[in-house]
Symmetry: C2
Subunit: 276 residues, 2 copies
């Protein structure tokens, strides 16, 4: 049985891509009004260029039960047309006990994601149920890309030799699973912090949101986040790709062009020695 | 315009109750199989005895789109039969920017909760959109009741005069809104920590899960958490009430008896001088 991390690595290699396309349907911006059809057309136009898709659950929840159905059908469409692509459920859940068990059932049994984002404020209890589904797993929110990230994440913890909150989260993530089914989320806007985390955790996959509209620099994020093989990251863009054009007659080609451009920019940013 | 915190206080006073009933439908345990009908019958049997209901979103999500519809209809039923009762959406979301906006739309526009639980790992950015809905607001996950809570929450932060992570979260919560629309979640299993938090934050409402099946002591939690008026807390029990009996012919009366017993136990625990 392979893990989602192995699937990701294999796909990143075969498609020469570390692009993750965020599927965040916003009725105010979609070129067509039907969410599932919009997602299908974006997926059809881009899937050969990506390593992952990342639907952001909030946008589907805001549509209510219909949004939930559209999301489930979106994942099924990805499975049908691009079974080698990793599907990340970005819901940032974080609970414990029977509640965490129920979240895992929702994410894996109902939606069929390969992996999901989680908050680890409650410790291993909130992660454990997501490790009970074979090779599936989770990506722990570690250092985020927003200005408010500093309000808690950057504090140094006493008795840890100078570790910050986010470094403690990364250390714990590595301890919680010895089968390589966990990763971390690190925002693209903080390449310095990302380099420190990569040095301490050579093998943890890193989901990197925050390029494009949030201002993160692709080159800096790629160089700071890539592992020794020149892979190990998913660089995620949503608005910059799916709303590259808001016109019905060109949103697919615009999304494809934006995905291709991001892929090339990432690959150009890698050190020449990597990319084995 | 009154806030959800004022609504809660008014209800706690008029119903002499600080009981919050957790609506966590588990198909394996419900006395009848229809989720909405189960919730309706629990609500009809208990609403005069409670200050709040707290559906746990995970259980509805695990049922997919149907679960989402059942949850929305459950909130509508509470509005119809018990409009003075506070409805807490326990989803522990935590994101930023347009994603946090979308979560707020889901929670307030689609489900119609009065207030919701949130993770504040991303700082004020994850809370701000929930303060844009008049008197509605949020309850920030602060000190949880599970064993894994210590893995992150109990660390002392350098440069804060000995404050822990969870104390920093409570301090930030108080700073983020000057209109009294935020509260904190503190597990019943840690009355010592709760007393410290109450002393530092005399007015913050506290949602207290963890009595009953998680082993929290009602008397200790009530005494540590109640404010100077002998209110200011919601003591939440779910399994101990809604599964008090798993028999169809008695689950409603068993839920009512368990709710009544918890209410009385809480009220007996208050110091004689309080309860103004």
């Amino acid at each position: 049985m392979s893990t989602w991390v192995e699937k990701l690595d294999s796909r990143a290699k075969s498609a020469s891509s570390m692009v993750c396309v965020g599927l965040d349907p916003d009725p105010a911006r979609m070129a067509i009004s039907d969410t599932l059809e919009f997602n299908r057309r974006i997926i059809d136009a881009t899937h050969d260029l990506v390593c992952a898709y990342k639907p952001q659950l909030a946008f589907y929840e805001a549509m209510g039960a219909e949004g939930f159905e559209a999301l489930r059908a979106t994942v099924a469409h990805i499975r049908a047309v691009a079974p080698d692509v990793v599907v990340v459920g970005d819901g940032k859940r974080g609970d414990m006990g029977p509640t965490a068990d129920a979240y895992a059932r929702a994410m894996f049994d109902y939606f069929d994601f390969d992996t999901v984002t989680l908050h680890a404020y409650l410790g291993r209890d909130s992660v454990a149920p997501f490790l009970e589904y074979g090779g599936r797993g989770a990506i722990i929110v570690c250092r985020t890309s927003n200005p408010g990230a500093t309000e808690l994440q950057d504090y140094v913890l006493e008795g840890t030799d100078g570790k910050t909150v986010y470094q403690r989260v990364a250390d714990a993530t590595e301890q919680w699973d010895d089968q390589g089914r966990l990763g971390i989320v690190v925002g693209a806007t903080y390449p310095g912090e990302m380099a420190v985390l990569r040095a301490a955790h050579p093998d943890l996959p890193i989901l990197i949101p925050g390029v494009g509209s949030q201002g993160g620099d692709v080159e800096a994020a790629t160089q700071a986040g890539a592992n020794a093989d020149g892979r190990g990251v998913m660089i995620s863009s949503s608005r910059g790709i799916i709303y590259a054009s808001e016109r019905e007659d060109e949103f697919e080609s615009a999304a494809r062009d934006a995905t291709s451009a991001l892929r090339d920019e990432i690959n150009r940013s890698l050190p020449a020695a990597s990319g084995k």
